[in-house]
Amino acid sequence: MQLSIPISHWLTLPSRLLVEKVAAPSISINSSDEVLIGATLGGDDNAFRILVDRFMDEVSRTVTGMLGPVAEVDDVVQEVFIKLHRSLTSFRGDSSLKTFVIRMAINKSLDALRKRKRARWLQPWSLAEDQDPVSSANSDGNIESVERKRELRRAIDRLPDNQKAVIVLRMIEDLSTQETATALNLPYGTVLSRLKRGLDRLKSDLESSTWLD
C-alpha cells in the first residue's frame, strides 16, 4: 500500500506552519472589519486600536448628539468601546459592525440620560440645571449664531429620549430609515412615526421657521 501523503510532507510541516503563521493576514488601516475583529479576538490590540479609530467619529457624534456638550461624553465614549471589546465574541455579523457600535452608543447614552434624570430627581437644585448647553467659548463669535445653537440644543434636549435617538441617527448620523430601525432594533414604521413626531416637536420648539427647508 502506498502512502497517499509523502513523508516529506510531514517532515516539512513545522517549518510550513511557521511560514503560514508569519504569512497570516497583516493588519492595516485598510483591513476589513471581519479581519480586525478576528485579530482582536486573537489578542491583537493594534487591530482593536484601528477599529476604535474607525468608529470614533460615529460614536462621539452619536453620544454628543444624545447628551449635549457635557464632560460625561468622554466617559460614555470610552465605555462604548470597552463594551465593544467585551462584546466582539457575541458579534454574529447579522448587521454591520457600524450598526452594532452605534446601537451600543445609543444604549450607553440612554443609560447616562437615565442616570442624569435620577440625579436631578434626587437633587432638584443641583448644578445640572445650571449647565449651559452651548459653552461660552464662542463669546467672541456671532451672538445671533450662538443664540440659534442654544435654541437648537434646548429643542433637542426637550425631545423624549426615544425620539431623540431617531433624530440623532437619522438626521445627524445620516443613517437611512432602515439602518436606524436596525440600530435601534425597532420596526421600520415605528422609526418613521418617531421621526415625524420628533420633527414636529423640533419645529414647534424652534422659534425661527427660517431654519427649515
Binding site: 490590540d45 482593536f48 486600536r49 476604535v52 479609530d53 470614533m56 462621539s60 457624534r61 454628543t64 448628539g65 449635549g68 456638550p69 457635557v70 464632560a71 461624553v73 468622554d74 465614549v77 470610552q78 468601546f81 470597552i82 471589546h85 452651548v134 459653552s135 467659548a137 440659534r148 445653537k149 437648537l152 440644543r153 433637542i156 433624530i167 440623532v168 437619522r170 438626521m171 445627524i172 445620516d174 437611512s176 430609515t177 418613521l192 421621526l195 415625524k196 420633527l199 423640533l202 431654519w211 427649515l212 427647508d213
Partner: protein, 120 residues
C-alpha cells in the same frame, strides 16, 4: 445636492436645512467637549479594566460561587418567616412558635424564679 443625497433626504421628508444645522451643532459641541487623542485614552482605559479584572479574578469567582448560596439562604429565611407568621396566627398557647418548634419549655419571669434544685 446629489441624486443619492436627494433620495436619502426625501426618504422620510427629512428637512436638509435642519439636518445641516444639527450636524454642524453636534460637530462643534463634540470638538469642544472631547479631549485630545481619544483613541489612546480608550486603549489605556481598556488596559486598566483588564488589569482590574486580573487582580479581582478571585473575588469575582467567589462572588459567582456564593450567589446561589445567598439565593437559597434568602429563600429558606423567607420560608421560615412565613411559617412563623402562620404558626403565630393559630397559636393559642403561651409559647412562642420557635419554642414550640424546638420543643423548649416556656420561659416566663415566674418560671425563671422557680428553681428546681434536685439532689443527686
Amino acid at each position: 445636492m446629489s441624486i443619492a443625497q436627494h433620495h436619502h433626504s426625501s426618504e422620510a421628508d427629512v428637512p436638509e436645512g435642519l439636518s445641516q444645522e444639527l450636524r454642524m451643532l453636534v460637530h462643534e459641541e463634540r470638538d469642544e467637549t472631547m479631549m485630545s487623542m481619544p483613541t489612546e485614552r480608550v486603549m489605556r482605559a481598556l488596559g486598566a479594566s483588564r488589569s482590574w479584572k486580573k487582580e479581582n479574578v478571585l473575588s469575582l469567582e467567589l462572588v459567582s460561587w456564593f450567589r446561589p448560596v445567598v439565593l437559597a439562604g434568602s429563600f429558606v429565611i423567607l420560608m421560615l418567616i412565613a411559617y412563623n407568621v402562620k404558626l403565630s396566627s393559630t397559636n393559642d398557647y403561651d409559647q412562642s412558635p420557635t419554642e414550640m418548634l424546638l420543643g423548649l419549655p416556656p420561659v416566663t419571669v415566674a418560671s425563671a424564679y422557680e428553681l428546681s434544685i434536685e439532689d443527686h
